[in-house]
C-alpha cells in the first residue's frame, strides 16, 4: 500500500499561472525521494500542499489511501502530526532552549489548554532527551537556540520533527543555508533516520549531486510539472538539462545581453 499518493494536484496563487500543474505520483513507505528543480519550479509549494500548509486548488493528497481533501480542523491537526517538516531556515523559536524547541513537536497531540501552558509528560521529556542524544546534541540541551551553529539548529529542527513520531518527513531545502561539512552531517542524519527508523523522506534539493548520492528516487520538477521520475543512476545530462532547462536558458540570455551592452 502506498503511504502517499498525490493525485492530479494543482495549485494556483491568485490568478497567477499554475505553480503546480496536475502533479501525479506515489510514494511507498520507507522511500527516500529527492525533488529537484530550478528555483520557482514549485518544490516548496508541493511540500506545503502535502501537509495542507497552503490550500490546494484542485486534485487530492491521499495518505494510506485516505483522501485529505476535505478535513475539519481536528482532522487537519491529526493529519499534520503524522508529518514532520524541516525548513531551510530551521524555523526555531530562537529565544527558547533546545529542549523546549524539541518539545514543540508534541504540541499537535495536545489540547489547546495543555499546549498553551506547555504541559509535557515525563515520557515526552525523556523522549526529547533521547532524540537529542542520538543527534549528538546532549551538551547543548539547555542552551538557547540562538547560540547554536546552523548545522546544530538544523539538527534541533530534525529532533522537533522526530518527536512527532511521524510517518513522513518533508524537508524543504534543509542544507541550502549550510556549509558543506554541516550539510553532509544533515544528509547523513536523514539517511540514517530513513534506514533505521523506516520513516519515509521527501527532500527538496537544489544540488543534483547531493540528490544522486542520497536518494533512491529523483523527481525533477520544472514550471510546476514533473519532467522526470527515475532512479539516480538512470539520470542523464539530457534529463538534467530538461529539469533545469529554463534556468540554463536564462543564463545564456544574460550572457548575450552583457555582450550587447559592451
Amino acid at each position: 500500500m502506498p503511504l502517499l499518493h498525490i493525485a492530479k494536484l494543482s495549485k494556483r496563487y491568485g490568478t497567477d499561472k499554475y505553480a503546480l500543474d496536475s502533479i501525479d505520483f506515489t510514494v511507498a513507505t520507507g522511500e527516500f525521494v529527492a525533488i529537484i528543480g530550478p528555483s520557482g519550479a514549485g518544490k516548496s509549494t508541493l511540500l506545503r500542499c502535502i501537509n495542507h500548509m497552503i490550500p490546494m486548488t484542485s486534485g487530492d493528497v491521499l495518505i494510506a489511501d485516505a483522501s485529505t481533501k476535505s478535513m475539519n480542523a481536528t482532522q487537519l491537526r491529526a493529519h499534520r502530526t503524522q508529518i514532520g517538516m524541516i525548513f531551510q531556515h530551521y524555523n526555531l523559536v530562537n529565544r527558547l532552549s533546545v529542549i523546549e524547541n524539541v518539545l514543540h513537536g508534541r504540541l499537535g497531540y495536545k489540547s489547546t489548554a495543555a499546549g498553551v501552558m506547555g504541559w509535557y509528560s515525563n515520557a515526552e521529556k525523556q523522549q526529547a532527551v533521547e532524540i537529542l542524544q542520538n543527534l549528538g546534541l546532549s551538551d547543548h540541551m539547555y542552551k538557547r537556540c540562538d547560540q547554536l551553529s546552523g548545522g546544530q539548529k538544523q539538527r534541533v529542527g530534525i529532533a522537533r520533527a522526530l518527536i512527532q513520531n511521524p510517518k513522513l518527513l518533508l524537508c524543504d531545502e534543509p542544507i541550502a543555508s549550510l556549509d558543506p561539512s554541516a550539510a553532509k552531517i544533515i544528509m547523513d542524519t536523514l539517511k540514517d533516520i530513513n534506514q533505521r527508523l523506516g520513516i519515509t523522506i521527501i527532500v527538496n534539493l537544489h544540488q543534483v549531486d547531493v540528490a544522486m548520492r542520497y536518494a533512491q528516487r529523483i523527481i525533477g520538477i520544472n514550471s510546476g510539472k514533473i519532467v522526470c521520475d527515475a532512479a539516480p543512476h538512470s539520470l542523464t545530462p539530457d534529463i538534467i538539462h530538461e529539469v533545469y532547462g529554463s534556468e540554463a536558458g536564462e543564463l545564456i540570455l544574460d550572457f548575450g545581453e552583457q555582450h550587447a551592452h559592451a
Binding site: N51, M53, L76, R77, A78, H79, R80, T81, I83, G84, M85, F87, H89, Y90, N91, L92, V93, N94, R95, L96, H104, G105, R106, L107, G108, Y109, K110, S111, T112, G115, V116, M117, G118, G157, R160, Q164
Partner: protein, 262 residues
Amino acid sequence: MHTLDFFTKKRLSFGLFVVVLLGLTYVTIIFTEYNVAKGFTSIPKAIRWATTNFYPDAASLKKLPSILLKLRDTVMMSVASATIASACAFFVAIFGAQTTRINVWFSVFARGIATIFRNIDVSAWALILLFSFGQSSFTGYFALFFVTFGFMVRVLIETIDEVSTDSVEALRATGASYFAIIAQSVVPSCLPQLVSWVLFMIETNIRSATLVGILTGTGIGYSFDIYYKSLNYHAASLVIIVIVISVLAIEAVSNWIRRAVL
C-alpha cells in the same frame, strides 16, 4: 536611456520639493508676521530671565512633598495606561499581523483602528475626552491609553511579522492549535521587543501626562500650571527639575530592564 530618465526625474522631483518647501516657509512667515531676526535675538533675553527668576529657592522647597505626591499620581497614571493599553494592543495585534491573523478583514479592521487612535494626538484626545469626563484623572488616563494603544498595535504587528513568522509556520506544521502557537512561539519571540516598547511608552507617557495634566487639572502638570500662573516661578522651576529627574531616572531603570531581558 531608461536609467538616465529615471535619475533626471528623481533630481527634478527633489528640486521641486525644495522649491515648494521654501515657498511655503516664506508664505507662512508673511502671514504670521513672524520676525526671524527678532526671534533669534530674543533667545539671550530669555536665558537672562530664566537665570534670574527660574530657580528653586528655600521657600519653594517646602512645597516639595506636595509636588512629589502629584508626581506619584502622574507616574502611576503613565504606568497604568502604558501597561494596560499594551496588553490590549497585543491581542489586537495578533489579529492584525499577517502571521497570526484569522482572516483578512479582521486584520484590516485592527490596522484601521490602530491608525485612527495613533494619529489623533494625545492633547486632542484630552480635549475630546474633557467633554465626557470633565477635568478628572479619567480624561488623562484614557487620552494616554488611546494613544498608547494605537501606537502599540502598530509596532506589535510589525514585531510579530518580523520575529515569529518562521517559527509559527513550523508549529502550524506540527499540528499545534492556534492558541498553543501564540503562547509557545509568538509570545516568547516577541517578549523582548514587547517589554522594550512598553518601557518606551511609560517614558513617553510621563512626558505627555505632564502636558495633559495642564489641560485636565491633574498630576504634576497641574502643579506647574498653578505655580506658574500665580507667578511663583521658584516653585514652578522646582516642578520642572523634579520632572526632569524622574524622567531621567525612569529612563535609566528601563535601560537596565532592557539589558536584563535581552
